[in-house]
Symmetry: C2
Subunit: 198 residues, 2 copies
């Protein structure tokens, strides 16, 4: 691509390395950015750097955040005795958007997948078990209803059962094979209401 | 969105302000970026800032570049007596990809659009006329074949005719209403070969 100058080529290359951004989109984005006011580009660049620099795991639920505790774990009006187990931070956000869940979360950062060589030791399960040593009434398993999500749900429930803590799974309102973050709030709520003990 | 921390929200907001990136894509991108190695995020941020800071118009053809002259105007093996007039830098790139055009370009940065209130004085036409004072054999008008592009082509040709310089228009191989940058190289070449004098 010697028809653009070096720095424009570099910007296009950087943008097209992001997921879901092809070569055409990257060019469109690059020229949009080149036409943006300087301070807006600085704000974008700054947001990238600051977020990446300060990102860490919540010491309680392991969602990505920029403080020791995430905004949800910090809140005293949430029910800290009910823990919803999700695969990632975007799934947490999906349930938060319903505005009806009062408990807290635990983010596994993945699911058990023998195909991809991801075992129970590769996700945040140890951390979940540690949390269960304090007072917990219920663990709601809200992993995706994919093969990996179901495998993870079964594994987690078998792990927790001996502790005597109630373990539930969100109902099958969630379409099989679907990804939690793309499902509408009503379906997500129906799934929460219809949860059954494992 | 108080379910993400402040800096993650800020990153998502910044990303979704870009064209073609909705709220879901912005979240996906944000979490992808948070999981990237720190140095890759720095490279992306740096590419944004550097490209924006150093971007300027080529003093000859007015394409976006980072030097006084763009890579094409700098080359002595290009035919500087043949000028192709395009609407923007992406259209220039589209013709460069054919690898067969030997002349140089002139980037108008827009097209005449009475609907949007864009007149001849709002695009780089004065600069084109100034270039024509030096030795030029032919001006090839390669604006889009949209209403605005055709209007601009007619206007430019009427402006140049009195100077006695040959004015041509790329052939109608380009589908009517189409956008130059999305057309395949073969069609672009056919349009170039079939150009006719206005």
């Amino acid at each position: 691509m010697d028809y653009y100058s070096k720095q424009i080529n570099r910007l296009v290359a950087q943008l097209s390395s992001l997921p879901g951004i092809g070569s055409k989109s990257a060019q469109r984005l690059a020229f949009h950015i080149l036409n943006m006011p300087q301070e807006n580009v600085e704000a974008l660049s700054d947001a990238l750097l600051e977020a990446r620099r300060n990102v860490r795991y919540c010491s309680m639920c392991y969602t990505l955040t920029d403080d020791t505790l995430c905004p949800i774990c910090k809140r005293e009006d949430r029910d800290h005795r009910t823990i919803m187990v999700v695969e990632n931070s975007r799934d947490l956000a999906a349930y938060e958007k319903t505005g009806k869940y009062e408990g807290v979360y635990h983010v596994l950062h993945g699911s058990i997948s023998p195909m991809l060589g991801i075992g129970p030791g590769d996700i945040r399960l140890k951390e979940l078990l540690k949390r269960l040593q304090s007072d917990v009434d219920e663990v709601i398993i809200a992993t995706n209803s994919s093969l990996e999500g179901e495998t993870t749900a079964m594994y987690v429930s078998k792990l927790i059962k001996p502790t005597g803590i109630k373990v539930t799974r969100i109902a099958s309102g969630v379409p099989v094979g679907g990804d939690l973050e793309y499902i509408d709030e009503v379906t997500l709520l129906r799934a929460l209401e219809g949860r059954r003990e494992l």
